[in-house]
Subunit: 120 residues, 2 copies
DNA sequence: TGCTATTGACCACACTTGTAGTCCATGGAT
DNA sequence: ATCCATGGACTACAAGTGTGGTCAATAGCA
């Protein structure tokens, strides 16, 4: 199931703090998103429907927690992204990053180390 | 302007062969997409509206050609993707690539070459 | 020369997404 | 005991998207 842009903003909050009520999620987003709390609640509900998060009753309200792991999500969407935009080949993506100056010297060093290991 | 998933499939054809009629675009996609030719035509029209491609009359039909360059598109969506999924940091994306085994042997070879150049 | 296949233009329609409004139950404040 | 603020459930509604149908013009074939 796809997670939409706005839903992802909510997921990011829950990945950072894995158990929150709707109000708290709303507050965590307040300074970056000019959303009504209803909007946040709708997004939470949709994420529950999609199975990306789950709820635990806590008194009168729900606590929301991620079910989908951020790592798994990243793996999934990265693969999809490379398939769609870079014809499934990762190297051109890295070339793009380099080209756009998105890679720091540290990134480059990490990559080298990584490649060394992959070649073993 | 956003280019949708299906629209991107069409763009990929035109980036590969930069001047085609609707029928030819349809044929180029036939083995990967089970689309009706009308679907392809709709997508072409929407891409024209969005300014991503342009037309040249050729006899009774149009030839479609990309206006948006693949390189520019890639740069744009890559930045967006990293912002959304990796909090704007490229390094974790690269780590993710390695981790998930998304790198083929070919990618690894390409990357080595790339790194050689980056270090110069 | 009339018919058919093809072309782009326009229309359709359900699903997703962004962005909330409305409703009903209830836990607390008075 | 009342009333209100807050919680989740359900509803709304326009824009974007996937997918294709209809239509009128016309180029080419029979």
């Amino acid at each position: 199931m796809q997670i939409s842009q706005a839903e992802l903003d909510v997921m990011n909050v829950l990945w950072a703090t894995p158990s929150l009520g709707a109000q708290e999620v709303f507050e965590a987003l307040e300074n970056q998103k000019d959303w009504n709390i209803r909007t946040v609640k709708t997004l939470l509900s949709r994420l529950v429907e999609k199975g990306a998060i789950a709820t635990t009753p806590e008194g009168r309200r729900f606590l929301y927690r991620p079910v989908l792991k951020q790592k798994d999500y990243r793996a999934q969407v990265t693969t999809q992204f490379i398939d769609k935009v870079f014809s499934g080949k990762a190297a051109p993506l890295v070339a793009q990053l380099a080209d756009a100056g998105d890679l720091t010297q540290e990134d480059i060093n990490d990559l080298e180390k990584l490649l060394g290991e992959l070649k073993k």
